[in-house]
């Protein structure tokens, strides 16, 4: 016997009132860092020996300057030297026939602030104090009663 079926299918989303669901997808974040140090006051400082009188009895001191660098946090310097363009790597040079010698003190390091999600932070602040001295009794090289002020450029090279 045949039976005639009448079927009704009800499908569809039941409206869930005020209920939210979350789904997560994980991924990696990756980076490499090349550590650096960078001079921050290059070209702005002068070691000034003032006026040197020929044959003066006492050595002449130059003004002391602070050379500033900013570095990757935790990245420490290993050695320091002067340029060999206007003198020796040890810091000796000659200006108007007057010999001088420079010296760089030990690095003074102030740790930078760490980066957070709110700030990029700051680098470590590395400071080198450079001073100079001219020996006494130097004749100098000057055709007139006075020469100068005369200057030339020296460079501090810091190796990390």
């Amino acid at each position: 016997m045949k039976r005639i079926l009448i079927a009704a299918a009800i499908a569809g989303a039941a409206a869930l009132p005020a209920q939210s669901a979350t789904t997560s997808n994980n991924f990696n974040v990756s980076t490499s860092l090349s550590s650096q140090c960078q001079a921050t006051n290059s070209g702005s400082q002068t070691v000034d020996f003032g006026t040197y009188t020929a044959f003066q009895a006492t050595p002449q001191a130059g003004t002391s300057v602070n050379l500033l660098f900013q570095c990757t946090r935790g990245f420490a310097p290993t050695s320091v030297a002067f340029d060999t363009v206007n003198g020796t790597a040890a810091g000796v040079g000659v200006l108007v026939g007057l010999q001088y010698s420079l010296s760089a003190g030990a690095a003074s390091i102030v740790a930078g602030t760490a980066a957070t999600t709110a700030t990029i932070g700051t680098g470590d602040a590395v400071t080198y104090a450079v001073s100079g001295s001219m020996p006494a009794n130097q004749a100098g090289a000057c055709a007139t009663s006075a020469c100068g002020p005369t200057s030339h450029v020296r460079t501090l090279i810091v190796t990390f």
């Binding site: 499908a11 789904t23 997808n25 991924f27 974040v29 990756s30 490499s32 946090r73 709110a118 932070g121």
Partner: protein
Amino acid sequence: MPDDAVPAARLSAVDGGRRARAWLRIAAATFAAFVPWVHAATTSSNFTVQVTLTSQCAATNSGTTTVSFGTYTAFQATAQGSNTVNLTFQCTRGFAPVSVAFDTVNGTAAGAGVLTGLQYTLTAGAPTLVAGTAATTASIGTADVRTYGVSGSMLPGQAGTCAASSCGPATHTRTLIVTF
């Protein structure tokens, strides 16, 4: 008794009536004997098929992608970008997302984070949709595929944190959390 088996049909009280009643009895008996072999009518009964669907979305490529910033040189003058990863979800057809955010385990919900002392920010683009195919009596169909493009950027001039001349590649896990 023959009289009881047949519905009484009033007949005239003559001899012809007696003969007619006899024929009627025979006919009725014959009809009653043949009833089971005749297809004459159908009958139907209706019922309801009902279901409640809980809409869902599920991540399909979780844990397989990496947002990479390459090598950042401390104090570099330009911002550092990254590649774009596509995070895919399969969803109930027509079910749309409401909002998206990042985890707060390795950074902020807005997408900021720090890796080797370098701050970065992540951005999730508006999702793209590839609609699924409807179900038919012949196939179950396919889900909607929703894709989020995620990329990142690092600000210039950062010092970073590293005791050696270079550090990395350093990696940590972030999560895109989609709310529906």
